[in-house]
Symmetry: C2
Subunit: 155 residues, 2 copies
Amino acid sequence: MVEIYNMAGHLVRRLNQISVAVFADRMAAEGVELTPVQFAALSAIDARPGIAQAALAGAIAYDQTTLGGVIDRLEQKGFVAREVSPRDRRARVLTVTQAGQDLLARVRPVVRDLQGEILSGLDEDEKAQLLALLKKTTDAGNDKSRAPLTPRGGI
Amino acid sequence: MVEIYNMAGHLVRRLNQISVAVFADRMAAEGVELTPVQFAALSAIDARPGIAQAALAGAIAYDQTTLGGVIDRLEQKGFVAREVSPRDRRARVLTVTQAGQDLLARVRPVVRDLQGEILSGLDEDEKAQLLALLKKTTDAGNDKSRAPLTPRGGI
DNA sequence: TACTAATAATCAGCATACTTAATATATCGA
DNA sequence: TCGATATATTAAGTATGCTGATTATTAGTA
């Protein structure tokens, strides 16, 4: 018996891999090329049009440098437009293009639906319990992460 | 309110990032350079000396290609020895060196201890509940992963 | 035994995820 | 207003995590 099998870190890592694989399968079935990270970014930009990269990173708990690359790819695919902010020339202001909106409309129900498949083997009560516990501990551990959530533009 | 905040995929991703960050902090505090993935590999090789890379990948739910790179780094640091198997010249047989054993002895208690910090904000009952649910769903979803656990050398 | 299929490992390439450093721009205080 | 400081982004480098292809070797079969 390998000692790591019951460790939180190992189990969380595996569940994340399952989550990413389920997402990839569903997108492939939909004929869409979009990663979980790209979906989250696109969805968050749509919720806050004109947000800058740094604020977006805080809004969805991404590393700022990583996000730069993610936006590069979303821009290249034509789903996101990036412009220099008129109020702060350091910042890049993001908006979702029409193609991005269309894509979002199409994949949103798929993404919602696939969440249940990530937690396969659990009944509805157990899924709700697991989600509640995940929410509680990610909230409590937020500051430990290198990419914490900073909902309102930081402390 | 961004729509992803209550999705399983997003929460699992964040908890994994917290997990990795906690691990990195504790190792840094210990003065050791070791990633969670490297620890898992080292620990699993120690549990099954002479295991080949493919079997190891199945034993700890790693992608085989990824594992090659992980072993490269462990070998370079002198913690693992890699030799061509006498029974199957395609295979590379792995063992933990003395330096690897020493490192394991040193970090094992640290790794065990840090698991609690990954799930901060939960009381003992809640931690046990979360672990049980994680175990149940990773078990059920094992085959969905690109790197499933194959405990006894495959199906 | 020759042919074929399967397996172990590696390579090339792409996408996260992070660190440290550099560059450009803003802001604050003296 | 000048200078120190802080912030937004990008660049370079490392590590995981995957896909698809290639090579070497083994195993199974006609």
